[in-house]
């Protein structure tokens, strides 16, 4: 029988929302306070949802040790206490939480093979959250 498993992780990081394609005025009007050149930070919460048949021998969709190990190694250790603008994922894109969501989805989709990736959900603050469940990303 197929079940969905969701695991929640946390990391803190700073970012600045600024697009090289916009003028200074346009950046200021589009991103407001988030355009501050010194950046600012958030405590992000990340929810990863995977799905698959529940293995009869283990009772699991996937072993949590595998999921935790992958997310810790490939995401939390790389993003936690970092400036997102400095990471290769955001060399060409603005580190909005939308783009963070799709970047994390991409890392999981490429590297995590123990269960089917359903969805990535990110909370930037308690007031706003973002979800990405795959599909085309406009570059």
């Amino acid at each position: 029988m197929k079940a969905h498993l969701t695991r929640r992780y946390r990391f803190s990081a700073s970012h600045r929302l600024h697009s090289e394609e916009m003028s200074a005025e346009e950046n200021a009007s589009t991103y407001g306070k988030c355009n501050n050149p010194y950046g600012h930070g958030h405590n992000y919460a990340l929810e990863v949802t995977v799905s698959g048949p529940v293995d009869e021998a283990t009772g699991m969709v996937c072993n949590l040790t595998d999921l935790d190990g992958f997310v810790q190694r490939e995401i939390v250790e790389r993003f936690d206490i970092q400036n997102l603008n400095m990471l290769p994922e955001f060399a060409r894109t603005v580190p909005t939480t939308e783009n963070l969501c799709t970047a994390i989805y991409d890392i999981l989709r490429r590297g995590f093979t123990h269960a089917h990736l359903e969805k990535v959900r990110m909370e930037e603050t308690m007031m706003n959250s973002f979800e990405f469940a795959g599909g085309e990303i406009r570059e």
């Binding site: 029988m1 197929k2 079940a3 969905h4 695991r7 929640r8 529940v54 009772g59 699991m60």
Partner: protein
């Protein structure tokens, strides 16, 4: 179609062990959860039902009835219990959160009358939950 979700909480203990595995395999696969003396969690259950709103009552489901079903089928059977030893479904099935969601679905689905069961969500901790939609 309107969806209604009811929450409930229960506390229970469990451990993970498959008698077909060697002791080494059990330890490798289940880690600390393999401790035969068990350990416990405060589980949060969210049951979502769906249906049309009854024009006379304005309800998708009578909440009192839903609450009674949750108590009888889930809380009375699982709250403050050792799942492996006291819930018959887990005599031969490992009480992972995945299987807990499936067993709760199987207990609730036949009891639903007006509304249809849509989703069973079981939180083992605030950072881990499983959704089961009755899919084969």
């Amino acid at each position: 179609m309107v969806y209604l979700t009811r929450k409930a909480e229960f506390a229970a203990s469990h451990y993970y062990h498959n008698p077909d595995f060697s002791p080494e395999e059990n330890r490798r696969i289940f880690g600390k959860c393999n401790n035969p003396n068990g350990h416990g969690h405060n589980y949060t259950l969210e049951v979502t039902v769906k249906g049309e709103v009854d024009p006379r009552s304005g309800f998708v489901v009578d909440l009192k009835q839903l609450k009674d079903i949750l108590h009888r089928e889930v809380l009375d059977a699982m709250d403050h219990r050792f799942l492996n030893k006291e819930v018959p479904e887990f005599a031969n099935r490992i009480p992972t959160t995945e299987n807990l969601a499936i067993v709760i679905w199987q207990r609730l689905a036949p009891k639903m009358k007006a509304a249809q069961l849509h989703r069973v969500r079981v939180y083992e901790t605030p950072d881990l939950f499983v959704d089961f939609y009755g899919e084969a």
